[in-house]
């Protein structure tokens, strides 16, 4: 529980909350980026350097850009005028709040049994690479196949149905 944790947590929460509540979709994505960068910083704080940088590379560099492209291509960059009814929004927020309350209850009731302070684990990228190539090589292959399939599938889905000439 350091100062930096609270600052980064605040950045993350503000970013994500803004991403979920702003009217303009582009603003949403931009503040989501802020939130995800905050999350990456949390990973760094936890000592997971590789994961943190991967998070930035994948989410900021790819997913956010992809979302932006989707927004541009679906012409939904203008602020939304027809909001869903207040009851609908209220019910959603209530359910989410309930989920949070229950989770918080669970965490707080378990807090005694959680492990407390331990030393920062020293993990180098080299170890991660070795683990990926040996112990986790099968999942790695599977993920590779999955990504390829997703790439092909996304390309086919997004391809113009009539545009056979391409």
């Amino acid at each position: 529980m350091t100062i930096s944790f609270f600052i980064i947590a605040a950045i993350t929460i503000v970013g994500t909350a803004a991403a979920m509540s702003l009217k303009n979709l582009v603003h949403c994505v931009l503040s989501l980026t802020l939130g995800l960068v905050g999350l990456a910083l949390l990973f760094l704080l936890l000592g997971a350097q590789f994961v943190g940088f991967t998070q930035i590379l994948v989410y900021v560099g790819a997913v956010a850009i992809l979302a932006v492209f989707a927004i541009m291509m679906t012409r939904s960059a203008e602020p939304m005028t027809n909001l869903p009814p207040a009851s609908f929004r209220l019910s959603g927020v209530l359910i989410a709040a309930t989920v949070f309350a229950v989770l918080a209850w669970a965490i707080s009731s378990a807090t005694r049994s959680l492990p407390s302070q331990s030393s920062q684990p020293e993990v180098s990228v080299n170890q991660i690479g070795v683990a990926l190539m040996h112990q986790f090589v099968l999942p790695l292959e599977v993920i590779g196949v999955l990504l390829t399939a997703a790439l092909v599938g996304a390309a086919i889905l997004a391809m113009d149905e009539t545009g056979a000439s391409r």
């Binding site: 929460i13 979920m20 929004r89 996304a154």
Partner: protein
């Protein structure tokens, strides 16, 4: 309060924010983003448990997160292209407009 429970609370909060977004917004892209947020909250849990867990040398949490990030990337790509296809079909990505599966 131990540091781990702080991270857990934060991840629960992120999860709930994502869930709230997915439940309240009508734009399909935003719903997808909300789901991505929920995935990320889970990732934070993995990393936190790895960091404070009994056996950080096993790297299981890190591995899980790496795979989860890749899966999330694939999911985002496919999801957004589905949204594009839907948009091309119905000229709208409003979830209200997509109710042809109504019972």
């Amino acid at each position: 309060m131990s540091p781990l429970s702080g991270y857990l609370l934060l991840s629960a909060l992120l999860f709930s924010i994502g869930l709230a977004g997915a439940l309240t917004r009508r734009n399909a892209i935003l719903v997808l983003i909300g789901i991505e947020l929920m995935l990320n909250a889970a990732n934070l849990n993995f990393i936190a448990f790895w960091r404070y867990g009994p056996n950080p040398a096993a790297l299981t949490g890190v591995m899980f997160t790496i795979f989860s990030i890749s899966v999330a990337a694939a999911e985002a790509a496919v999801g957004l292209s589905i949204i594009l296809a839907v948009y091309r079909h119905s000229k709208s990505i409003n979830l209200d407009a997509m109710n042809s599966m109504k019972g």
